[in-house]
Amino acid sequence: MGDEPIPLHRLPVGCCGRVFEMRINDVARRRMLDLGLTFNTEVVALQQSPSGDPTAYFIRGAVIALRSQDASQILITPVKSG
């Protein structure tokens, strides 16, 4: 896979990426940081909800569901899963 950063909501289920940049500010950014979404953190897309949004992600040992509109603000670099 390429190294081009993509928004998190585009990460296919089962794939893994690393946080590259967060395009949100203030409270929302803070909240994401507190979940452990800091630079280079590994994120795995686990599963979509029945309607396809939100999606559950595996972040630092916890499963966190994010809505697409929020996930789209987080840029990640896809990682080849080994």
Binding site: I24, G36, Q47, S49, D53, I59, I64, A65
Partner: protein
């Protein structure tokens, strides 16, 4: 400056103040209950502890006051819960802070631990759910963790009471200053350290002794506006001094951003997480094979694209069906027993020569109402609540929120509203309080105003009883199945109305866009059947029944009096019922039913008993007993299936009970919103019942 230890050995004879902090879902409340013997309701989802609870315990001759802080991921952010937790740890100066962490998710939890260790060294780390971790093949080197962090670490399984003794011992030793605590100072990148150095001297002059000036400086750089407001109350600064300090902070943040291109908070949080990651790397070993395989497998069913929602409906329907089928027989048994007692009571009153009115008041008024409440409501509750608690304990409810979130998003509401809605199934007042987990005021109000559209514990017995009497189709298993389906439909209708009203509100009175949110899906936990039975019986069944009995006894008295005091040609009861009859008829019901709903304002539990009482009191005195006889009583009073449907619909959509209204007022401090909470569901109910009744009549159905 080692200001943290300034109170070393300064423990007076008074109780030891212990704060209980931790991420949501770490079993904090269970631990709190285990230590204090209190029964705070716990549930496997974020945000159960919305304000803090206090409890006491005694250990080796000393009293400890335990303060259960709201679960939070961090002390740095801005939600109301995090603020409560942070202010208590910073400024409440507890003697010891116990940080509860989830052994299965230690890395993320360490973020909060490290943040707290920056404020105070008097910390005991409690690694809870250690059994779950073992089961998942997660190995934890607790002695190493303790060495790394410089504070005592105790592994516990709060649900089974494992490790609580060791935890109390560690707390005692920290409180008494027996342990020398030396948590290493968390160091940041050179740039951050430089920025801290730019402001720390100024902070040190102003900060009270008990606050670490390093920590205060870091937080000021971090720039939480709310924090700066909190802290200014505690700094002994003249306005000019604060302004000078603010200038320094701005200069230091500017320096950081210019040099690194990143904000101070990004740099600080990243450093804390990097440290957490490296500690986790040292102390956690995960045995090969997916540790969370079971969770993922269950999630693939419960939140699956195709099956998620059908499975959810099937589970709920199954619960209703089991309740309806199972409640019938014990209901009859109870009724027989209680009315056997009634016969003897009457005989007793006669034997001692009590006047007829006294017998009427106490036996026909108070006792009979109570007997009805118990025999009609106890069996369904004793079956329904344990089943629901089972799902709650398993960790299923956050999955419901996950499945339903897209509907809430489209309604302009917050995703956590699905969780507060689930709380409403238990009790709407609790559901309204739970709305505090929603940060945005707009979305919180929407959630509070619509919480009443899910039927609470107090209303389920009415739904179950009426559905099983009137809406069963044919006999045998079809009867209970169709009754269960009706209740399921009612709940689904409630959710749809919730969404519709939320949407209307977010387009009109409470305009705005949904705010950012993250929903944690905690690991499934193996439900403990014994505990579920005990807890759901004591905390819920007996609680609801107790409330019903307490309110129903005087209400039975009032109804009996109303039925026996003549005003003109009619009794007071008959008079009011006749007055309300046209309105009731318009809605497919009758005057007595409307009176029962009105008098049922203190508690929804008593609506059914009040109906029964008013029918019984107004003449057709009938031998009492089981559901079959209840059916006969209602049929005698002109009920049809349409009446039952309208009563069910009105029960779902009418004013919240008194407690819920009071809670809404306390939460909003606003009469207008409280009135809205009263009017919105009532008007909805009037409208729906009117439409249903009119349509049925036009079609000539009943």
């Amino acid at each position: 400056m080692s200001s943290i230890d300034s109170r070393e050995g300064a423990l007076p004879g008074g109780p030891v103040m212990v704060a209980l902090a931790g991420n949501p879902n770490t079993g904090k409340s269970t631990l709190f209950n285990g230590l204090t013997g209190m029964k705070q309701h716990t549930g496997n989802w974020a945000g159960k502890t919305v304000a803090y609870a206090r409890g006491r315990y005694r250990y080796r001759g000393k009293d400890y006051i335990l303060v259960d802080l709201p679960g939070s991921y961090s002390l740095l952010a801005s939600s109301a819960e995090e603020e409560v937790a942070r202010d208590f740890i910073c400024f409440g100066q507890p003697h010891v802070t116990v940080v509860v962490t989830d052994a299965t998710c230690l890395e993320r939890n360490l973020n909060l631990v490290l943040q707290i260790l920056e404020i105070t060294a008097r910390v005991v780390l409690c690694v809870n759910l250690i059994d779950e971790a073992e089961r998942k093949g997660i190995g934890l080197d607790l002695p190493e963790l303790s060495r790394t962090l410089g504070v005592p670490v105790v592994g516990t399984d709060a649900r089974k009471g494992r490790g609580l003794g060791q935890l109390q011992e560690a707390v005692r030793r920290v409180a008494g200053g027996e342990l020398v605590l030396k948590p290493p100072i968390l160091t940041y990148s050179q740039l951050v350290e430089k920025a801290v150095a730019m402001i720390e001297p100024a902070v040190q002059e102003l900060a009270p002794d008990y606050l670490s000036s390093r920590w205060v400086s870091l937080r000021m750089l971090d720039g939480g506006e709310k924090f700066n407001r909190s802290i200014s109350k505690f700094l002994n600064a003249a306005p000019a001094q604060s302004e000078a300090l603010a200038g320094k902070v701005a200069a230091a943040s500017g320096f950081l951003e210019e040099k690194s291109g990143k904000s101070a908070s990004d740099l600080i949080v990243s450093a804390i997480f990097a440290r957490a990651e490296s500690i986790a790397g040292e102390v956690i070993t995960i045995s090969p094979g997916r540790a969370d395989g079971w969770d993922r497998r269950l999630d693939r069913i419960f939140t699956s694209r195709r099956l998620g929602i059908p499975v959810m409906l099937a589970l709920l329907g199954l619960i209703f069906w089991i309740t309806i089928t199972g409640a019938n027989y014990p209901s009859e048994l109870l009724a027989t027993a209680l009315f056997w007692v009634e016969g003897h009571l009457q005989a007793l009153f006669k034997a001692v020569g009590a006047p007829a009115w006294l017998e009427g008041l106490f036996v026909n008024g108070v006792y009979r109402t109570l007997a009805w409440v118990v025999s009609v409501m106890l069996p369904p509750m004793a079956i329904f609540f344990p089943l629901f608690t089972f799902l709650e304990d398993l960790g299923y409810l956050p999955r419901v929120a996950f499945n339903l979130d897209s509907f809430f998003r489209r309604a302009g509401a917050h995703g956590k509203q699905a969780l507060t809605m689930c709380m409403g199934f238990g009790c709407n007042a609790a559901g309204v309080i739970a709305c505090r987990i929603i940060d945005s005021p707009r979305e919180r109000l929407i959630a509070m105003l619509t919480n009443n559209f899910v039927p609470c514990n107090g209303r389920f017995p009415l739904l179950i009883v009426l559905a099983s009497i009137f809406l069963g189709y044919r006999g045998g298993i079809f009867r209970s199945l169709s009754a269960a389906a009706v209740i399921l439909l009612v709940v689904v209708l409630g959710v749809m109305i919730t969404l519709l009203v939320s949407k209307i509100l977010s387009r009109t009175l409470l305009k705005g866009l949904p705010s950012t949110f993250a929903l944690e899906l905690p690991p499934y936990r193996r439900p403990q059947l014994g505990r579920i039975l005990v807890r759901s019986f004591i905390d819920r069944t007996l609680f609801v029944l107790g409330r019903a009995v307490i309110v129903a006894a005087p209400a039975g008295l009032v109804i009996w009096l109303m039925a026996n005091v003549k005003i003109g040609a009619f009794s007071a009861l008959e008079g009011s019922a006749r007055f309300l009859e046209p309105f009731g008829a318009l809605l497919g019901m009758d005057g007595y039913i409307i009176i029962s709903f009105l008098l049922g304002l203190p508690a929804n539990e008593i609506v059914i008993p009040l109906m029964i009482m008013s029918y019984l009191a107004s003449g057709s005195l009938l031998d009492l007993g089981s559901l079959g006889q209840l059916q006969a009583l209602l049929l005698d009073n002109g009920w049809t299936w349409l009446t039952a449907i309208c009563v069910i619909l009105f029960s779902l959509n009418h004013f919240p009970c008194g407690t819920t209204l009071l809670t809404i007022y306390r939460e909003t401090r606003n009469f207008g919103w409280t009135a809205a909470a009263f009017l919105i569901p009532t008007l909805t109910g009037v409208l729906i019942c009117f439409i249903v009744a009119t349509t049925a009549r036009l079609l000539g159905l009943p």
